[in-house]
Every structure is written in C-alpha cells, then in structure tokens.
Symmetry: C2
Subunit: 487 residues, 2 copies
C-alpha cells in the first residue's frame, strides 16, 4: 500500500478544482482508493521456488513453462580498449514488442489524457499513474488467461488521429533488445473512464511528474513522444487562476519557445545524425547471448543471482497476490538494482534556445549499439572501486550542482513489472558554459530537435525520454508550487 505523504507536503496539489468540461478529482486520494481496491502483496521467494518458472537444465536460463512472457539469460560483452574491456551479466530477453498507449481527448480545447492507476510488483510505493494501455503481446494474446485489456482496440485499430506512434528501446543494461510501441491516439468521441481510469488534463499529468514515484516509466516514455500540440499547450485553465507566469528566471518560457521547430540550433540535424552514425559505426562493442550459467563473477546463492562484488543488481524471485489485476496471483523473476541512480541533463541556452547535452551511450542491449542518453546516467556506487578515468564524465558536477540552477529534481521509479524498486533521481540542471567542449561523445541538441528525433525509433534512450517529458512539463506556466523546495 502506498504510504501517501500528508496533503500539505504537496502544496495543495490535491485540492479538488473545477476545470471546464471535467471535474478534477484528487489524484492522490484516487490512487489511494484504487490501491485499496487492488491490493497487491509481493513476497520475495527463492528463484528455485518460482511457480511456473524453471531453469533450463543445460543453460540455466530462467524461462516460463508456457514459453511466453520473458526469460532471464546471459550476455557476454566485449569492448576492447575501454577502462572495463568486458564483462558478462544476466539480462532479460523479452522479444515481443508491447503497446504503451495513451488516449487523448480535447475538452473545450484542453487536452486530457486517460490515465490508469496501476500497481506493479516492483513499484516502491504502490499504484502509479500509468498509460491507458500497457500491454505486452502476451497480455493481449491472453497468454496468462486474464481479462481482456481495456481500450486496447483503440490502439490496435485507431479510429482517431494518431499523434505519436513509434517503437522505442528500454533499459539496454537490463533488457536485450527490448522495444515497445509508444502511442498517443486522439479520440473525438466520448470515451468513458472505466474503474481504475481517469481523464486528467495533460497539464496536470505533467505537473505530477514532480511527485516522487508517481508517474510510471511507461507513461513518461509515451509523454516524451507526444509532439508539441497545435496552437500550443495552454494547460488547464482554472476559474480563479491568473494568467500564465513562470517563477524560474524565465527558464520555463525559454523551454516553451525552444520546442518550436523554427527555433535555431547549435548543430543542424544532418550534422547530428552524421555524428551518431559515426559513433554507431566506430564503437567497438560486441554483445553475445550466452547461457545464464556461464556468466562470470555472478553467483547463484540464497535463491537469487548476485554479482560477487555486491554491485549492479540482483536477479530475485517474487510471488504476487493481487486483488484487481488481470489474474489473482503469479510468480516471476525480477531485476533488483543496487542503489539509486543519478540521471541528469545539463541544459544551456544558446542564442536563447534551450539545448540539452546528450551523451552517445553504449548499452549492450541496444538494437543499434548507441543511443542518445542524458549527460549523466549512472549508479555512483557501481564506480567507487574503479579508477577516476572509468568514472562517468560530469558526475561530480551534477552531484555538486548549485540548488539555484536545478530546474527539475525528482526521484522516479522504473518499470515495476520487471524491476524491483528501481529508482533514479532525475535532474535538469542549467549551466552557462560548455563543461566538455569538443568531447567526441557529447553534443548539444536543441529541444525541438529532441522532439524531431522522437518521431523515429532508437535515437533517445528511455532515461532521456523521461527527462524530455520533464522538460515539457517545465514549459508550463507554474500555477502554484508543486512541492515545496523543489521548484
């Protein structure tokens, strides 16, 4: 059950307000109510005792008896010439692409999203705000004999306007070539919110990104792919609200302007694409699936698989008993990371246009070697035994950023269906100067260029997509402090 903070700590965000065309309920009360209805009990169990799962006798790979869902296998990675020139690790292989979809509907011109309160076994604090549809292929082919996925047909055979529809990767450190279809479909007709679903104004959902562990990863990646809507995005208008204002030194207004494709950019898009093509073609990295029982320096003991150093992550088993989910109970392996990650974009205004410093990052599970990642993305504890040269560039600068330049700072959690209590501290930090001029693996990319790249697959990684969604949220006029001390 989500231990909700007292109402005051949200600066009144939960107060019911009247919006033209719909009544905003208190999102926290609602999540709490849904959590009560859909109680989920998660118990850790040894991998050997996971019902329905078995270790392949020859390879040790963990598979479901149905052959579906996903498997935990091994991956051997070589990258000659790097500080860490190779390793092997367990990895999740889930070859099926699912659908992550959000329905959008304009009410009196204000875009609203149909959001779901969804609990997942790996969520740190119960139900989170999730997309309308979050379905693996196993879900919708009914492999686990559960109920039909509500609203799925509106994405499989869209009747409205498709605003976004693009396949994107997920964590390349934990997934081998995972991809999901990210969709936003605008409907014109009235679509009723079923139990566990609510129509919320887009602006409200974006505000909620500032609340820890509230908007789930799947919702964030879909929001990131939503293009700038026609005629701007005024967000919801309240009867008692004054006109737009920003209280962040003009940063939000600059972000809003920087999403306009007519705004300038430090590098042209062809130049950026050429840079990425070069990185993808010259990085010498080889990832090869291997049997799980052949990963080096990982030990299976006490019902789990852990690295002998205690770092990185563990593969654990859980048994789940759920009230209102598709099926009432199941068991599954999960990846449980060690430590909270740091994920930060350094951003900078160049000729008034906000640019983010993107890192061409190698992760072994990517479909095409390299994707554009945040400036810093790491779990600091994984590097504390390594020489300084092996530490991520700019990590120290991010950890020591002056509070006055931090534009966004919230701990958010990753996909709770596969990852157990996986949390990252997401930050947007404004800087005045280029801290890494001429570094071959970093480029300043204008915000409207990030939007353009998100029309296509496998350019921005899932962490960069979360930060892109957070940047879109910063472009909204602030109505009231979302959390005291953050903005």
């Amino acid at each position: 059950m989500r231990p909700l903070p007292p109402r005051d700590s949200f600066g009144g965000i939960g107060r019911p307000r009247r919006c033209e065309g719909c009544v905003i309920i208190d999102v926290h009360d609602w999540l709490r109510a849904v959590a009560g209805l859909t109680s989920m009990r998660v118990t850790r169990v040894p991998l050997e005792e996971l019902a329905g799962w078995r270790a392949d006798p020859a390879t040790g790979d963990l598979r479901h008896a149905s052959g579906g869902f996903f498997a935990v296998e091994g991956l051997d990675v070589r990258r000659p010439g790097w500080a860490v020139p190779g390793w092997s690790q367990p990895i999740i292989n889930q070859p099926e692409a699912g659908i992550l979809g959000i329905l959008l509907r304009r009410v009196d011109g204000v875009p609203h999203l149909l959001m779901q309160a969804k609990n997942e076994p790996g969520n740190p604090e119960g139900a989170q705000l999730s997309p309308t549809v979050q379905a693996t292929r196993s879900n919708y082919t009914r492999l686990h004999r559960g109920r039909a996925v509500p609203y799925l047909e509106l994405f499989r055979r869209p009747r409205g306007r498709v605003l976004a529809d693009v396949r994107q990767s997920e964590q390349g450190a934990w997934f081998y070539r995972k991809r999901n279809r990210n969709m936003v479909v605008e409907v014109r007709e009235d679509v009723e919110a079923a139990e566990g679903f609510r129509w919320l104004p887009l602006g409200r959902v974006r505000e909620l990104l500032s609340v820890p562990d509230l908007v789930n990863m799947d919702a964030r990646t879909v929001l990131a792919c939503l293009p700038d809507l026609d005629g701007g995005e005024p967000g919801p208008r309240w009867d008692d609200e004054p006109g737009p204002r920003w209280d962040d030194g003009g940063f939000g207004a600059a972000v809003a302007r920087s999403r306009d494709p007519r705004a300038g950019a430090r590098h042209g898009l062809p130049e950026l694409l050429s840079w990425l093509s070069g990185m993808r073609s010259t990085v010498d990295v080889h990832a090869r699936p291997v049997p799980l029982n052949q990963v080096r320096r990982w030990r299976r003991a006490d019902g789990r698989i852990a690295h002998e150093s205690g770092r990185f992550f563990e593969v654990i088993g859980v048994r789940v008993e759920a009230g209102g989910r598709e099926v009432t109970s199941w068991s599954q392996p999960m990846i449980a990371p060690v430590g909270t990650g740091v994920v930060a974009f350094l951003v900078r205004r160049i000729d008034g246009v906000v640019h983010a410093l993107a890192h061409a990052r190698v992760e072994p599970g990517y479909t095409d070697v390299v994707e554009l990642a945040p400036t810093v993305q790491c779990t600091p504890g994984n590097y504390d035994h390594l020489p300084p040269a092996a530490r991520p560039p700019l990590l120290a600068e991010v950890l020591a950023a002056p509070p006055g330049r931090v534009r966004f700072d919230t701990v958010l959690s990753e996909e709770g269906g596969r990852f157990y209590h996986a949390r990252n501290r997401y930050q947007v930090i404004e800087v005045d100067d280029d801290p890494l001029p001429g570094h071959p693996a970093f480029r300043w990319i204008a915000l409207h260029q990030l939007d353009e790249l998100l029309r296509h697959s496998y350019y921005l990684n899932v962490q960069a997509r979360t930060l892109n969604a957070c940047l879109h949220a910063l472009a909204q006029p602030v109505r009231e402090p979302v959390i005291a001390g953050v903005r």
Copy 2:
C-alpha cells in the same frame, strides 16, 4: 575478365566528350583496362578445402581462423499463420559495420563523384563501378594485412560537407543484421584520382545504372541516400547539347518534380511511420540463430551446402587469385543464389506527384522485423511449388507489364564480395490505377518521402534503395538513348 558488349549496343555512351572542368574517358575502356591490370581468377573449391576457414566441430558454423571477416551460421525462423510458417537456413553473420563512401566535388557547379573500378569474386562480369571507399572494419583495421584503403580517412574524419551519413541494412534473407554506413562527403579541395579511380559526373554515373551489371550494389545504395542537391541537379552540360528534354511521356520531368519536399503526398509522413510502426509491432516472426549443422532440409555434400529442393541458394567455396587487390589470394565461402530475381516498383502519379508502391516486407535478418521493400521482390522459381496464395502479390502483373509502361529495366548484380553471380532484374513500371487498394502491407509513398526516410536507418531495404537510385537517374534529361530498346 569482363566480356564487354560491342560498343554499338551502348548507343555511343562511351564516346569521349568534353565536359567543363574534366575530360570524360570511356568508362568501358577504362573498366576493361583496370580489369586487365587487376585480373582476378576465381575457382570454385569444396568448402572443406577453404584455406583459413574451418567448420566449428560442435556447431558446423564456418569461421575464419582469425575470428574476423564473417561467419556462415544457421537461422531458425518461425512465423505462425503464414503460408510457409517456418523454415531454417544458412545465413551470413557479419557483425561489423563497414563504410560505403563516395566523395563528391563540384566542378564549375557540376557534381562529380570519385568512383572506383573494383573487381569482386562474385561479380558476373568482372570489374564494376564502385564507391570511393568500400571497407569492412576488417579492411581498415588491416586484419588481412593488405594495403591501406585509399581515401578512407576522408570518411573517418571528414573535412568537407557531409551530404549523407546513415546506417542501412543489406539483404535480410542472406545477412543476419548486417549494416553498413552509407556516406557522401563533398570536398572543396582538389583530390587526385589514384590508379583505379576516376572522377565522373553524377549524371554520367546515373546514366550508367541502365547498363547491366555495371554500377555495383554498394555504389547504388550510397547513391540512393544522396539527397536532392541544392539548386537542382542539372547533370553535366555538353558544349553541343540542346536544352533538357525527356522522351518518356513526361515521366522523367514528373520524377524530378516529385523529389521536391513541397510536393504533395497521398499519406502524410506521420501516417506512414505509424503504419510501419504497427507492422513492425504486430508481425509475429521469430528468428533465432542456430548451429549451421542443425538447419533442416539443407544438405552438405559435394563441397557445398544446398537445399534439398535445389531452390533458394547454395553456400559454396571459392579460391581467388587477384593481381591488383589488397592481397594477392584468399579463399572464402559465398552465397550463390539459384535463379535471377525480379525486383520492381510499381509507380503512379497521384495529383502529378510520382508515388512508389512500397511493401512492408519481413526478412529474418532485419534489425527491426520489417523494412520497406519494392512492390515485388522475389525469385519466381522459389515459389513454383507453392499454392497460389503463397506467391507474391502482383508478380504476375509485373511479369506481364506492357513494354510502353516500363520506365526502367536492367539486370544488376548484388554485392560481389559475399554473393556469387547474384542478379536481379530491376524494373520501374508506371500504372494508372491502384492494383491493391487497401492492402494492409502496401502503401503509396511519394518520391520526396522516400528521400526523407533515407535520412534515417532501416526504413528502405537495399533493393528499394537500388530502385530509388534508378528513379533519381530517370529524373535527368535524356541526352541520347542509353541502351536501344530500354528507354
């Protein structure tokens, strides 16, 4: 040695002419001269006797002793619900991305390309017109201890303007996830043509696409990615030439207009991308590497690997002795297809804008399940034992196309470094009506949209890229018939 056809059959294409800024030599005489200098003797040898290659004792996979170059492995393919629901096959695994690059230089405003006369063991008729650089990573890390690759540094660290730079797939039926970097770099300074290289006007190279087996696959895929150049592409101007003219019922002029991004289109790009995203997400196909000795219905006998039906292709061995190549002799396995393929775009003017009918095609080796392919792409003999439902749509229409509607028709060969005498008959056929209205796997795409898609990876497959290069060639005013009877 290339048995060149008599000069007359090329309609005088080889006549030396004076072009502003350069002297056009006779391309055929030149290829013949280079072929004489770089004689290549190719002898078929049993796979068991390939020097430097061995079959892995456990898997049967064919690998080079160095671990480099490429390997021949097995692939198991499942696609439930299709007329052919599964098969297994040998496939080439070449995980390294190489560079295919062409240098471009404007002489008095006329774009010229630095082309190479290059022989490859699989070429049906000797040397072909090839890109400036055609280098695997093994080439440029000097794995086979040969000479340095000329001009390579101009692509690895370009000093000029990068006009195209994009990773693209190659044959997904024969390669497992192969990709090459396709580059065009414009240089401003004088770059001297080394022995075996020539600066040729872009318009001339495009004309030569109509000559059978002359412009190689690597050159074609790079040409396809070259965007419409600033201020149009007038092609070379000759002193004695009248103004532009087309003799094809206005088709060439319509193609030229249809490359303008401001021209209209049947479907908007977001709609096309959504369609492709849907195809990639819903096609149920699973390709899994397996040991070569476990492919079903393929037999290793007589020093080669062949399908028991005699269809599809064979894996053969060759020994090569070359005069002017990087190294003087080597041995290697190759894929030798059975029969000549048919590769055709049906094209249609919609509101005056030329559209091509693209097929969302599944090939097991693609990086992302489906790529956009020509309307028809097959080797007819591979289907003659199957029920009509399993035959490719529109094949009969292409085979029976009225000669007056055939805008391009030339047999071209595929990459001669891996494929032995692999030839396809490439055709562009104009139609007035939609022969497959509403078919879920086909869409009409405007030519300027093909150009836009080619800025990004893995949208157009290698056969569609060849046809795109041929379409660009048709946009040029015709100066004289290239081959009697074709145009």
